[in-house]
Structure formats: C-alpha cells, structure tokens
C-alpha cells in the first residue's frame, strides 16, 4: 500500500492564510466589463414586456439584452444528467426567460457595463411587465389535483418531474403481520451550502481565433466546456475553461446555470472580457434537500425492523438542467441505509415547483435517508422502551452480509458496522453518559440529551441504479485520468482531470505520486482545472478526487517509476528489479545511486536505454463494481464504494426557550484506507458542522409568494465557531475491495450522521413528545412547540 503521509497539512496553505492565493474575482484582464442580471420578482408570471432603454442609456453600459434578444444566439441549456435516463421529464430551459418566468430570481435580462456598480444599477433600472400566474411553492401544492401546470409547454401533463418505486419483498403483507407498527412523518427543510466564495466567471472571447477562455469558480471544467459548446454553438476545441483557486463548492458550483453562457455571450458580442460574480443574495436563492417522508414501519418485540413503507415527496423547484434535482433520486434509492430490512416499498414523487431550482448540495441526497432511518430507529426504541443502540444493533448489516444489494440496486461494498457502533459507544462512554443524564434534576432549565446515529454514504459517482433488465444501462461510471511527466532536469508534473474545492485533494495526489517516485510531496507540481492542459475528468464531486483520481495518479506514477528503474539499471549495474527509488535518487542495495536529475539527463542524452516517451505516462482508472454473491441479474453501474460511520451527539436543551447547545460530537468513521488523516478530518469537521446547521438552524425560508426571505447570513443561520463543540474523531479502516488504494471517499460523510445524532439527542432531552412527526430544522421555536405538545406516554 502506498504511504502518502498520514497526517500532513494542505500543501501551499501559506498562500491562502496570507491572502496571496488568487480566486476568480482577482482575475481582471484589460478592458474588463462586468455583468449583472435582471431577475424576476415573481414566482410564476407571464412576461409581457421589457424595457431596456433606461439601462442602455446609462453611461458606462455597453450591452443590455433581453430573452428575445438572445434567443437566436443561445440554444437551450443542455441537461448535465438527462432526466429521461431515469424515466423523468425534461424541460426547455433558456438562459434568459422570454415569455414566462417560473421562479423568483429567474434571469430576464442581462447587462454588461464598465464597472460592477454601473452594471448592477443598469440591471435594476430594467422594467419588465408581468402578468402574475398562480404559483405552486410547496411540494403538496405542486401535486394537488388542480395545481397550475408549470411545464405544459414541454408536454408535462402534471408537475411530476420523475416518479420511482423501489421495492423488495412484500411490504404490505409484512406490515399487516408485524407485531408492532408505527407511522411517522419526517419533514426536512430546504437548505443550502453557502460557500465563502459564491459563483463567478470571467469570459474572454478572442475574435482573431474565434475562441473563448472561461475562468470559472467551478467543480467541473470539462462539463462546463461541453455545456457551453452546446449552448453557444461552438466546438469544444474553441473553448478553454480554467479554474483558479476555489473558495468552496459543496455541489453548488456544478454546470447548468444561466449565467454561464450569458457571460460568454456578452464577451463574444462586446469582444471584451466580461466578469460575473454572484452576490450573496443571489447565492441564497438556490437550495436543496427539502423532502417529506411518510413512513410506516413494522417491527418485532426486540426492535427487528420487518417492513418499511415510505412515501416520499420531493419538491425540487423549477425544472433546471443543472444536476441538483437528481439528489431526489439518491434520497430514495439510499433507503434503508445501513439496515437489513426484508420488506421494503419506497415510492418517490419528484415535483417541480415555483421555487428557485435546486442546486447540488453536499450530501447529494444521501444525508436525508440517514436522518429518516436514524430518527425511525429512535422512534422504534421509544415505542418498545429499548435502548437506541440495541435497536440499531438488531438491524445493522454485518460484515458477513456484505456486499449487500439495496432495494433500489445500489450495492454496499464493505464495512464492519457493528464494530463501528460498539467502538463509538465505548469511545464516547455511552453508558456513563446515560448514568450522568439520569442524575439531572427534573426542574433544570437545561436538559441533557444523548443521540446516536449510523450513517452510510454511497460515493464515487452513481445516482441511477436498478436492474439492467428494467432500465437502460446509461453511461459507465466515469474514469479519472492522470498524466505524470518528468522534465529532462528531473522536475515532476502531475496533470489530473480532478479539481479541488479547497479541501486539499491536490495535496493527497502530490503525496501519492511523490511516494511512487521517491521524492518529496512538495516536488510534485499539480496541474488541474484547465481543459487545455489536463486530461479530461470529473472535477470534484462524490468523493472521487483521491479515491479515483488518486488511483489514476498512482498508476501513471508507477509506470514512470518503472521506466526510471529501467533507465537506472545500466548505470547502477543491477537489474531493474533491484533498483529502488528514494530520496530523489535511484539506488541499489550495494550503495550505488544516481540522482533523479542525473538519470533524466542520461535519458535526454540518449545514454540510458528506455522506450521513447518513458518519462511521461497517462493512465485512467475506474473503480470496480461490487459483485454480490449469488446474483444472476446484471445491475447498472453505480456508487462503487460506501463510507460509513457512527455518530454521537450530546446536547443541552433550554426547556424555557427551545435553544439547543451541542456539547459533544463524537464520530467513528470508516472511509477505507486513509491517505491523509489531517485532510480526512478536515472534511469531517466541515460536514459535521454542516449537519449541525441542518439539524438546528439552517433554513432557506421561502414565503407563500415564493420569495426567498432567508437571503443573508443574518437570516440564514450558519453555525459559527461558538455553536460547534470540539470534534472527537476516531477511524476504523475497512479497505474497499473496489478501489486500487482501498479508499472509500471522505468528502460528504458526517453531514447526515451529525444531523441525525443531534436530532435524536434533542428528542432524547425533551422526552418523547406526543407527536408523529419530525420536522427539521429543530430551531428553538420548533423545539418549544414539541415541548408544549407534552410527553408521549
């Protein structure tokens, strides 16, 4: 196994700490114009007229365009993931609305001006005339029988974007026969990602060559290049996308936003570079993850879960080509998470509404089923008077049952869930916590609560699942590609199709290559996020950067290392197999050595015997798919590896105000083989803090008229340092059989686990309220409402 450095910090961190790292808004080519967008104030309306004259007459305004103006120049934005692949419906979405708007904030006009203030003022001066139409803001309203139709022009007979059913066994019969049954509604709020750096693009059209360079704060440069080529009608070879340092992505910086082609079109028309930087209020328009689960569960007297029925409704906002809506599929397909449930019937309806479209959000739908199943485990424990840990132990899949095929078709590859749970209970001193909790005086203002949760996170890219006999195959899981290139003087470049959102996967890749070549991590220059220089790849998403991208880098580095050993064999007078690479040199056991620089010099001079091009290698890697013993059916390729973890939260609930303080967050995490513990834990810290916000305060509030009212950091409440306790993390490494390095990904896990553990701790503190619903976020008003509902028994 490759040792890449167990706990090394992010490479090049000083530039970030000292403000020298360059982000998208630092890019300012000569002649730069600034774009601003005029947006719909209505959730649903006919656009009957638009007056650009005031904007065009403002000094400093270079261009002002309406939807009608750009119709001929911009094709509809293509879908990144085609809904029809999973039996869903497509809508025609253009960068600027010309006739009808379907959400507050939908772009209706765009301006380019000499400075950003003039651009904003010009956008604000644009007066559009609207005839308001009845809007559907909630999922329930969207699926009501008499609901106004949103996408009838694309042939939709209702507002259902997609519907799915994932079943195993006979849920109805098993529910009827179960000794115990419970019904519970789980409502999860719309919330967002809020990276410190919002979206931004700088497009530079070169008239002489007819080519476009686009700097973008983005996750997926190659997808963006493809999408722009479709919308702008340019060959991909005429477009170069470059990603500078990125201040967080969290799913939000994927492809398919209207501003992407708009900024390019303005550059092409004005023949000047054009920049667009999203404002914070614009950034808060987006969101995701909202859903309602109506669950009925049947279980035995010892907590054994016998049957599960779940009717899921997910409102994804207006139809959009960016991949956010697809999180809905994953939320249903990842049920019932880490548990063995013989009879399952899951129905999913995905509804288009007049809310702003979903964007992808960290967790990508995987966090919601964890919240549902983990709350359900506690509800069952409450019903039976059992300890929540015991109910989980009764139902968790064991190592002997893995790989395990889930009802929708995902396959869990590896893990030791019972041991991970036991390890959590031990490390957190669960029994001691329970004993101390029992000593809390009953009249105390602040009541202690303890919650646990078990999380599985499908990773490595997937979404679509199911038997091939029932569904089209779809594309195979994307490979990642890496090139390792030695210069004649012995310096090393790694070119990769992955990108980093700021979390440090580039550091891991450099360490992996360095280990193969016997050099220091700092000696590997990582080149990424440039469609002209780098091999095509998947950017960053689904915890693939280190697991898939790292494996490709290792394979390429191993090939170069073989060439170096072969080249050194002659000079060192030993067979290539006896050459070792370490400390920047090729060495043999007798003490002879030749430095890497000398060796590369020999190759350059033709004095070492190697095949042509030996100092450069490009390799691709694709993860394996789990093979479930005894299966004869073929399945769609999907998430190749699942990380898992057990989480414990301690809270104190102010029973007079409903305020919740989280006092401990403990996790045992299995992301397979760990390549860099510092960076894995950095990802976990961020995800767990995000889970804390999701559990308690983060809420993209949209009012009855479809206006996003939580549009600043004073109304959308992210956790701050004082809201978050010190994290207590341990690792339990069970390598994945499906990846070269045994890794399972570490970019998303922790969100669902922390979310569910904190929710369970809050319910534990307030003592089984008389309710058949769990409604997130558990904000102080909601907690106080639950407490006033009185105890359940």
């Amino acid at each position: 196994m490759t040792a890449a450095g167990a706990a090394e910090p992010k490479a090049g961190a000083t530039a970030f700490l000292t403000g020298h790292a360059h982000y998208i808004d630092d890019i300012a080519p000569d002649g730069l114009l600034y774009m601003a967008v005029a947006r719909s104030p209505h959730a649903h309306a006919r656009l009957t007229g638009i007056d650009l004259a005031p904007a065009r007459s403002m000094p400093g305004v270079v261009l002002a365009l309406s939807g009608a103006d750009v119709q001929a120049q911009l094709a509809p934005i293509p879908y990144v993931l085609d809904p029809e692949l999973i039996g869903g419906r497509r809508a025609t979405v253009r960068a600027l609305a010309a006739e009808r708007v379907r959400y507050v904030g939908e772009p209706v006009a765009v301006v380019a001006a000499e400075d950003r203030y003039t651009a904003r003022a010009a956008a604000r001066s644009i007066k559009a005339a609207f005839e308001p139409l009845p809007a559907v803001v909630t999922g329930a309203a969207a699926v009501a029988p008499d609901a106004p139709l949103l996408h009838e022009a694309d042939g939709w007979p209702d507002n259902i974007l997609a519907a799915h059913r994932f079943a195993a066994g006979d849920a109805e019969g098993a529910l009827a026969a179960a000794p115990h049954r419970v019904r519970h509604r789980f409502s999860i709020q719309r919330y967002t990602t809020a990276p410190i750096e919002p979206r931004g693009y700088v497009a530079s059209w070169d008239e002489a060559s007819g080519s476009l360079t686009v700097h973008a704060s983005h996750q997926h440069p190659f997808q963006l290049r493809w999408s722009l080529s479709q919308t702008l009608g340019l060959p991909e070879s005429a477009i170069r996308v470059i990603v500078p340092h990125v201040g967080g992505t969290f799913g939000m910086k994927m492809t398919g936003y209207p501003e992407e082609p708009l900024v390019c079109l303005l550059s092409r028309l004005s023949r000047r570079p054009v920049k667009w930087i999203e404002s914070r209020a614009e950034c808060f328009l987006g969101g995701g993850r909202e859903q309602v689960h109506e669950v009925e569960a049947g279980f035995g007297p010892d907590g054994e879960l016998l049957a599960l029925r779940d009717d899921i409704l997910i409102p994804v906002g207006a139809a959009a080509p960016s991949p956010g809506w697809r999180m809905s599929y994953v939320s249903a397909a990842a049920m019932p998470t880490a548990y063995r449930v013989p009879h399952v019937d899951i129905r999913l309806r995905v509804a288009a509404t007049n809310a702003p479209p979903w964007h992808s959000c960290r967790g990508y739908g995987k966090e919601a089923p964890v919240a549902v199943m983990e709350r359900l485990m506690d509800v069952i424990a409450d019903e039976l008077g059992l300890d929540p840990a015991a109910v989980r132990h009764r139902n968790l899949l064991t190592p002997a049952e893995l790989p395990h095929r889930m009802p929708a078709g995902y396959a869990i590859d590896s893990g030791d869930y019972p041991t991970v749970l036991d390890s959590l209970l031990h490390q957190a001193d669960y029994q001691g916590l329970r004993r101390r909790q029992a000593t809390c005086p009953p009249d105390a203002d602040w009541r202690p609560g303890i919650g646990i949760a078990f999380e599985v996170t499908p990773e490595g890219g997937g979404h679509a699942a199911g038997k091939l006999s029932e569904a089209p195959a779809g594309p195979p899981r994307d490979a990642e590609t890496a090139t390792v290139r030695l210069t004649p003087s012995g310096t090393v470049d790694l070119l990769t199709g992955t990108t980093t959102p700021g979390g440090g996967s580039d550091t891991v890749l450099a360490g992996l290559v360095a280990a193969e070549l016997g050099i220091a991590r700092e000696e590997v220059r990582v080149i990424q996020g440039d469609t002209l220089l780098c091999p095509p790849g998947g950017g960053n998403s689904s915890s693939r950067g280190a697991s898939i991208g790292g494996a490709a880098a290792v394979l390429a580095a191993q090939q170069v290392a073989r060439s170096l050993r072969q080249a050194a064999a002659g000079p060192l007078g030993v067979p290539a197999a006896a050459v070792k690479l370490s400390d920047r040199a090729a060495r043999e056991a007798g003490g002879g050595s030749i430095t890497l620089a000398e060796l590369c010099g020999l190759v350059r001079a033709g004095a070492a015997v190697v095949p042509p091009g030996a100092l450069e290698a490009t390799r691709s890697y694709r993860a394996e798919q789990s093979k479930v013993p005894g299966e004869t059916e073929a399945y769609r390729q999907s998430y190749p590896y699942f990380s898992n973890g057990a989480y414990l939260a301690c809270v104190e609930v102010d029973c007079t105000t409903g305020v919740v303080r989280v006092t401990r967050l403990v996790a045992i995490h299995d992301c397979g083989h760990i390549l860099n513990q510092t960076l894995v834990e950095g990802q976990l810290h961020g995800a767990m803090a995000m889970g804390l916000g999701a559990a308690l305060t983060e809420h993209s509030v949209i009012d009855a008229a479809g206006q996003v009212t939580a549009d600043s950091f004073k109304t959308y409440l992210l956790p701050r340092a004082d809201d978050v306790p010190a994290f207590e993390l341990w690792h339990h490494e069970v390598p994945s059989p499906n990846t070269l390095l045994g890794t399972k990904g570490a970019g998303e896990a922790g969100l669902g686990g922390a979310l569910a553990a904190i929710a369970n701790a809050v319910y534990d503190a307030i003592g089984r309220p008389r309710t058949h619903a769990t409604t997130f976020p558990l904000s102080p008003p909601e907690v106080l409402r639950l407490m006033n509902a009185g105890p359940g028994r």
């Binding site: 007079t656 308690l696 109304t715 409440l717 701050r720 004082d722 809201d723």
Partner: protein, 288 residues
C-alpha cells in the same frame, strides 16, 4: 439607482445643514455604516444623498458635570475602553461586549447608529430605556432633548426630524447599583430575538428604590414593565425574580415578527428572558 452624492460633514452643524437641504427621505445617514452600507450595496435602500458622520467629532464618552454623555458616533469598542463608561455605564458596557459580530463590528458599529436605526432586534435599545437615557437632537433652530422611550416610536421609526441630527445621549440619573442583561438568540449569528435589560437603584437601607425592567425585540419599540408596586421597598433578593418575570409575561404583548421568529414565539420567551436578566442582576452577576 446606485449613484448618490456623498457628504462628509466636518461638524454636527454642517451635518444638520446638509440634512436640511434635502426633503425627507432624500438622505441616508451613516453612523458606523454596518446597517446602511450593506443595505445600499444590496439595493435594499437607496437615497440620492448619503451623509457620513465619520468626521463630525461625535465619537466620544465624556463626563459633563457628573453626567455621562455618549456621542452618537461612539463605537462599542470606545464604550468598552472608556473609563467613564466602565464606571458609570456598566450595563451599556456589558451589552457592548456581547454585540454579535465580534471585534470588527464592535469597532465599526455605533450606539447612535443602532438607536436611530431603531430595529427591534438591536441589543442597545432596551438598555438605553432602562437607564433613562435622553437623546439630544440638533436642528437648524437649536437643540431638543427626548427620553429614549419617546424617541423610539416604532420599528425603524423615531422622532428624528428630516432636518435633525441625533448628537448624543446623556444619562442624567445616578448609575444603577445593580444591573443585568439577557439576550436570546437562535444561534451565534442570529440577531437577538428577545432581550431584557434590568437595572436597580437601592435606597439607603439596602431595599429597592427603583427597579426597571425593559424588554426588547418583542415589539416595535422597547416595552417597559411597571414594577414599582412589587419592587419598591422590597429586599434586593432573588425573591423578586418570579413576581417580576410573571408580571412581564402577563403585561408584555409580543407583536414583532420577522423571518427568524414569530410574535407567538417571542411571547413565549418573555418570561425566561426576563427571569434571566433579573436573576443576573439580583445575584450581582451578569449572565449571557
């Protein structure tokens, strides 16, 4: 429109002249700018004239013949580092130390700015009322003084005339012998949802002479709870907490709602918020 004339008067008189030159609503006044500048940036507020008080010399804390005076441009940091404020206005210092936003906001934001913005969720309003602070308003015709409670008319509405400038605050009475403050937030980043400021003056025999309890955040303006019949002459002990908090819960009517909390929630938390401010005061310690 984002274009506006920027005025930076060098004195209070000049500020008043500029204010007087434009009709009501045609000028936006910037104190520290922590509320108005973001609102201008977002386009939530627009005014053809922006008047920045940074150079008016109104950032000071002074002792004028035994009466503490706080200039309208005094930042929370200036309060915290002023010996006069620490000795005579400890309740205000306690509030200033807990202003959400940390060092940058405490250096930038001003007491006068928060007062004139008159947002129900501001920390500083209820304590100013509890301390009996008076606002000095300067117009072209001269000065007038108003009790803070009268200056604050409703949410984001004050008695400030279109040609007037809030020059500063005076605190005519003696400093309270005991004080307490509690604010309820939904999370660290949240505006206060409900606040309670408590201040108490003792008689020579150690009994309570005056006890003031003022609630913020629950209505358009701070709500003063009459407590004389309970507190006057009573021993200054925590036995006062329950009757006073019960009175607050009975008399105060929460009407203010925003995206963070309904009026109903604010009503429910009146009692615990009042109780915690009173308890902090009567224990001689400060909470929150």
């Amino acid at each position: 429109m984002t274009s506006f004339a920027y005025h930076r008067p060098a004195s209070p008189s000049e500020a008043v002249e500029i204010r007087a030159a434009y009709p009501a609503g045609a000028s936006a006044v910037i104190g520290g700018g922590t509320l108005v500048v973001p609102a201008l940036t977002r386009g939530d507020v627009s005014a053809p004239n922006v008047i920045d008080l940074a150079r008016t010399g109104l950032g000071y804390v002074a002792d004028r013949d035994g009466v503490p005076r706080v200039g309208t441009m005094t930042s929370y940091h200036q309060l915290l580092t002023s010996p006069v404020a620490r000795a005579r206005l400890p309740l205000l210092c306690l509030v200033a130390a807990g202003i959400t936003g940390g060092y940058q906001i405490r250096h930038q934001a001003t007491v006068g700015g928060a007062l004139c913005a008159a947002r129900p969720s501001s920390d500083v309003l209820a304590p100013l009322v509890a301390l009996g602070a008076e606002v000095t308003l300067k117009g072209s015709g001269g000065r007038r003084s108003l009790a803070t409670a009268d200056f604050l008319r409703d949410a984001e509405r004050t008695a400030l005339g279109p040609a007037e400038l809030a020059e500063g605050l005076t605190f005519p009475g003696p400093a309270p012998d005991r004080y307490g403050y509690y604010k309820l937030k939904l999370a660290e980043s949240s505006w206060p949802i409900a606040t309670a400021a408590a201040a108490m003056w003792l008689a020579g025999d150690g009994t309570v002479a005056t006890l003031r309890l003022v609630l913020g955040g629950i209505a358009g303006q701070p709500v003063t709870i009459p407590l004389d019949d309970i507190a006057h002459g009573a021993p200054a002990t925590t036995a006062l907490v329950t009757p006073c908090a019960d009175r607050a819960a009975r008399l105060a009517t929460a009407t203010w709602a925003d995206v963070l909390a309904t009026a109903d929630y604010r009503q429910q938390v009146v009692r615990p918020v009042a109780r915690r401010a009173l308890t902090a005061m009567l224990n001689g310690r400060t909470a929150s």
